[in-house]
């Protein structure tokens, strides 16, 4: 990130410094005649005439700022310090969660997002719910529409917060603290749900490959339903709210049951050792159903105060 930056700025300086040094050309100006002036405005104005060290005819004092070798050294030092800081942050973060695993969840493209949103809102015609693998690693969301991702939940969460702010603003109940409160409430509910799911999966010794991020993804999909519900509530009043609530609850329950059934209840389908699996397979079914039933409750809880 550092090197092209320097290269770009160097060429920019050359193109800018050419006109003032009209009579004494102290360097070979190899830049083409038409400098790309439209990008100049994006840099900080203080950088305008970086200049070479020989260009003393600019006149403005800011020219001399960057001809000073001390300033150059300071810039180098600052950029190396920033690089060090970036490396340290990356190292610390990768101690807690593997960034590669996180990157897997964000490897989406437009086609996947559109299909997934369609499935979330109308899952009844989707045939094949199996997550496909490729030599033991699950396929990325770009290649498999059944794979969970974190892009949709994140975007839906942010959209939900903005929509909540807008809904409250329409009813003249808005203040910035309410927005933060709404955001942290929703976040806390996600954390609680993921923790309860993890606890129940641990207690029932379900050996599935559901990682924490998968659970976060699955519990974040309800925000799509919430956004749809709130929108209908705002557009069509209280009746529209309840209709949309019923629709998105059913769709979401169906989606969750079908998706989690593949992961949590494999023994019901491919059980070769009789009673070999853990305590009572119906407990696994209860978990799946309880997760599904929890979704409409939470949707209602988090959106009813927005559509009064």
């Amino acid at each position: 990130m550092d090197l092209p930056h320097h290269g770009y700025r160097a060429s920019k300086q050359r193109s800018r410094a050419a006109p003032p040094a009209g009579d004494s050309v102290l360097f070979e100006d190899t830049s083409s005649a038409a400098p790309a002036m439209n990008n100049q405005g994006y840099y900080t104005p203080g950088y305008n005439m970086g200049g070479t060290s020989n260009d003393m005819q600019g006149g403005a004092g800011v020219n001399n700022l960057f001809t000073d070798p001390m300033a150059n050294a300071a810039m180098m030092y600052g950029s190396s310090l920033a690089n060090q800081g970036k490396d340290m942050v990356n190292k610390e973060i990768s101690r807690f969660m593997s960034v590669n695993k996180l990157k897997y969840f964000f490897a989406v493209d437009t086609r996947y997002v559109l299909k997934k949103l369609m499935i979330l809102m109308f899952p009844y015609t989707h045939q094949d719910w199996e997550v496909r693998y490729h030599r033991d690693t699950p396929l990325t969301p770009r290649q498999d529409v059944n794979a969970p991702d974190l892009y949709i939940p994140t975007m839906a969460f942010i959209t939900y917060i903005l929509l909540a702010g807008m809904a409250l603003g329409i009813q003249k109940r808005f203040s910035p603290e309410v927005l933060g409160l709404c955001a942290s409430t929703a976040l806390v509910w996600i954390i609680i749900e993921v923790l309860v799911m993890l606890l129940s999966l641990y207690l029932l010794t379900v050996h599935s490959d559901l990682s924490t991020f998968d659970l976060i993804a699955y519990s974040g999909y309800k925000y799509v339903g919430m956004i749809f519900t709130v929108l209908c509530g705002l557009l069509f009043g209280s009746d529209g709210y309840f209709v949309a609530l019923a629709w998105s609850s059913c769709a979401l329950m169906f989606f969750i049951v079908r998706s989690l059934k593949m992961k949590i209840l494999p023994s019901l389908s491919s059980d070769s050792m009789g009673m070999g699996s853990s305590a009572k397979p119906q407990l696994r079914l209860y978990i799946t159903v309880a997760t599904a039933v929890f979704q409409p409750i939470i949707i209602y809880w988090l959106t009813s105060h927005l559509v009064r």
């Binding site: 409160l181 942290s184 409430t185 976040l187 806390v188 509910w189 954390i191 609680i192 641990y202 207690l203 029932l204 010794t205 050996h207 070999g276 699996s277 853990s278 305590a279 407990l283 809880w301």
Partner: protein, 82 residues
């Protein structure tokens, strides 16, 4: 019910404290939840009760020392800021 992240942290601290004060021999063995009573089979299905007992024991072992620090910090903050 408006949650803040702080209330979640408080709830978590209270729950972990509650698990940490369960005494092994005075209480857990009396109600049949001691870890010496959990010698189950070696199959891959320990059962819910055994898992729970293992969970309680591991939480108590792991969180003993960090809880001291976290509780002290919490007490000081509550004293200062109410």
């Amino acid at each position: 019910m408006a949650f803040t992240l702080y209330s979640l942290i408080q709830a978590a601290i209270l729950c972990v404290n509650a698990v940490a004060v369960l005494h092994e021999e005075r209480f857990l063995t009396k109600i049949g939840w001691g870890v010496d009573q959990s010698v189950g089979g070696f199959g891959d299905e320990p059962g819910i009760k055994v898992q729970l007992m293992n969970l309680v024991r591991s939480v108590r072992t792991v969180m003993r020392v960090p809880l001291i620090a976290v509780n002290s910090v919490c007490i000081v903050l509550l004293l200062l800021f109410g």
